[in-house]
Amino acid sequence: MTYILEAKDLRKQYPDKLALQGLNLQIEAGEVFCLLGQNGAGKSTTINLFLGFVQPTAGAAYINGLEVASNALRIKQYLAYIPENVMLYPHLTGLENLALFSSLAGFKYKESELLAYLAQAGLPVEAVQRRVGTYSKGMRQKVGIAIAVAKHAKVLLLDEPTSGLDPKASNEFSELLRQLSQQGTAVFMATHDIFRAKEVGTRVGIMREGELVDVRPTALLNANELEQLYLHYMH
């Protein structure tokens, strides 16, 4: 079976630190996998390896069956990425930023379509024509979400995507992820937010010092149990 996202004995050794040790993971289409872990646990390294931004020391990452390291450019058409702190081009408006990133991904949208994506991400209408330099972190995050959604990718790689969002916007984002998941999009989300992981995830994994120490289906745990499990591994 071809998984939409897969890691086989994936390992990353930095000169001063072993960031990831032998990760094995398979994620299917429509699945929302939430990766929990402390800062420096290896979550971002994992995402960077799936993005092809860092080269693995051993093992391999696959997107839609293609090895990332040898298909670094090709695999980008299957994925969209939202970092923890979406930084856009401050001299362009939110609309112009979305148009730019969409055109780079090969999508030439009409203005009405771009406005619809921004509205779906929750960006206030009055902000779309303003330069991004005047945006709050949450507003930039919403443009980042619109960029990812407008790409219609098979995989969403999210690194703390709700960071900076207010509770209402976070809820709307969770709802959006659920919709995308139902449409067959696989989601890989690194997060500190146990409650959000339980709410939107189909599976959660716990990472500690570069090692995936536990993976559970969220359906078998309530939020409290997940928190206890997480704390258990962190001590």
């Binding site: 860092v54 980008k76 970092p83 856009l88 081009y89 001299h91 362009l92 112009e96 730019l100 780079l104």
Partner: protein, 472 residues
């Protein structure tokens, strides 16, 4: 993709207030330099044209005179400014503007602007070339130093690359985008220059100048391309914007200030030149070995006279159909001229060696490639100056020999007689024709190749560096 990134860079740059302020400043300087340069060109050109006409008229309106008196009265050759010299004055401010043409003597070209102006001119003039060669690169550095570092530091690079863009496409997009921004600053000044130049009748139908201006513009396009590529590559190579800026400013200082001075000093030490006084003394000393036209007791003059008597089968000078004095003068002039030409050629060769060192340094430093290219195309380089000097000397020699021939044709006792004033009106005056571009191209081959090699080499090396740019 490249176009999308280029457009983003262009729009972002135009909306960046820092760039707007700097560009307006540079554009203002360029436009001012163009207008001031053009005004100065017109003034100097007018002065020289009037002066040349005046001396030509004075020459033609001499009274009845002995030809040798006319040869000593002499004339002047004024060097016309080249059409594009208002863009790059090159050596024009330091080389002379006029030369006195007389018998027996090869005078140097005198009355340079530097001689007649205050000391400020020695610090360099504000010319279009000065702005293009030194200030625009600085603008490019300030524009591009954070091209990659900022994207990496803020994280936009990861978002950009996650859309399926390669690092090379990002780099080329930035290069094209910054190129458009620079064109917006430089373009109006060159357009103004073209309009000022070709709006005038004398240049309107001069294809040579059109081609020179086109090549002038093309050379600077390559020069700016080098700075843009270099800045983007350094930005990709360095981790932080500050270190990228320091590196680029260091390169600018080395390339635009230190290396040119160092090579000029090295050239002067490796190939020392003699002073004007030394050269005059050497020419004078050697000229003594030839006939002295003003010394009737000269042994060589006596020998020439003896040969003439034999040739015409007569026994005394009185019976000769030619004036011995005129022939002696012609012989003396030919010898002195030959001596001078040898010394002048030696001196020119030394200067050319010094210049060649700087020109070849263009392979190490693009600034030293654009400079000879720029002044060569503008017609204000050493080669064009020497061309004028030679033309003036050729005219002087022909004029003096023509007058010597007139004297010779007067026969015995010529010194007691004069020729009619109409004689002088039949003698053509000095009219300088600057060499065409095809002549100048030979001198510009090395710097042009150096600039192109830089463009190809830097692009190739730059892409290799960019491929290895860390993303995360």
């Amino acid at each position: 993709m490249i176009q999308s990134i280029a457009q983003k860079e262009f729009v972002s740059t135009l909306r960046d207030r820092r760039f707007v302020v700097l560009s307006v400043l540079v554009l203002g300087l360029l436009l001012a330099a163009t207008l001031v340069g053009r005004a100065s060109y017109r003034t100097l050109q007018r002065e020289r044209t009037v002066a040349q006409q005046t001396v030509n008229d004075q020459f033609h309106h001499q009274p009845n005179r002995h030809p040798h008196r006319v040869a000593h009265y002499g004339s002047f050759a004024f060097r016309p400014k080249s059409g594009l010299s208002f863009l790059d004055a090159g050596l024009d401010s330091f080389t002379g503007a006029s030369v006195f043409l007389e018998a027996h003597q090869q005078n140097s070209v005198n009355f340079s602007q530097a001689q007649q102006s205050g000391s400020l001119i020695r610090f360099g003039e504000l010319t279009v070339a000065f702005v293009l060669q030194l200030l625009v690169p600085l603008l490019i550095i300030f524009l591009c130093f954070s091209a990659f570092t900022e994207e990496r530091e803020t994280g936009t690079l990861k978002l950009l690359l996650s859309q399926g863009v390669s690092l090379r496409q990002v780099a080329w997009g930035k290069i094209v985008g910054y190129g458009r921004a620079v064109a917006l600053v430089v373009g109006p000044a060159l357009a103004l220059a073209a309009w000022l130049l070709f709006g005038e009748e004398e240049f309107g139908n001069n294809p040579d100048l059109w081609v020179r201006l086109a090549l002038f513009g093309a050379s600077y396009v390559v020069y700016f391309f080098l700075f843009i590529v270099g800045s983007v590559v350094v930005s990709a190579w360095q981790q932080h914007a500050r270190t990228a800026l320091v590196t680029l400013l260091g390169c600018w200082m080395l390339g635009c200030i230190i290396l040119p001075k160092a090579t000029a000093n090295l050239g002067a030490n490796l190939f020392p030149t003699i002073t004007k006084a030394q050269m005059d003394a050497a020419v004078h000393e050697e000229a003594q070995k030839g006939i002295n036209g003003h010394d009737p007791q000269d042994k060589r003059t006596a020998l020439l006279k003896e040969n003439l008597l034999k040739k015409y089968g007569v026994t005394s000078e009185k019976e000769l159909p030619v004036s011995v004095g005129g022939l002696v003068m012609a012989e003396s002039e030919a010898y002195t001229s030959q001596v001078y030409q040898q010394h002048f050629a030696d001196l020119t060769r030394t200067y050319e060696r010094q210049n060649a060192l700087s020109t070849w340094a263009g392979l190490l430093n693009p600034y030293q490639a654009i400079r000879p290219l720029s002044i060569g195309l503008a017609g204000s380089d050493f080669a064009h100056y020497v061309h004028f000097q030679q033309a003036a000397e050729d005219y002087r020699y022909q004029l003096v020999q023509r007058l010597n021939a007139l004297q010779a044709s007067m026969g015995y006792g010529d010194k007691e007689r004069k020729l009619d004033a109409a004689t002088w009106r039949a003698i053509p005056t000095f009219a300088y024709h600057a060499p065409p571009l095809s002549w100048a191209l030979g001198y510009l081959l090395v710097p042009a190749l150096a600039l192109l090699l830089w463009a190809v080499g830097l692009s190739w090396l730059g892409l290799k560096v960019i491929d290895k740019t860390p993303i995360a």
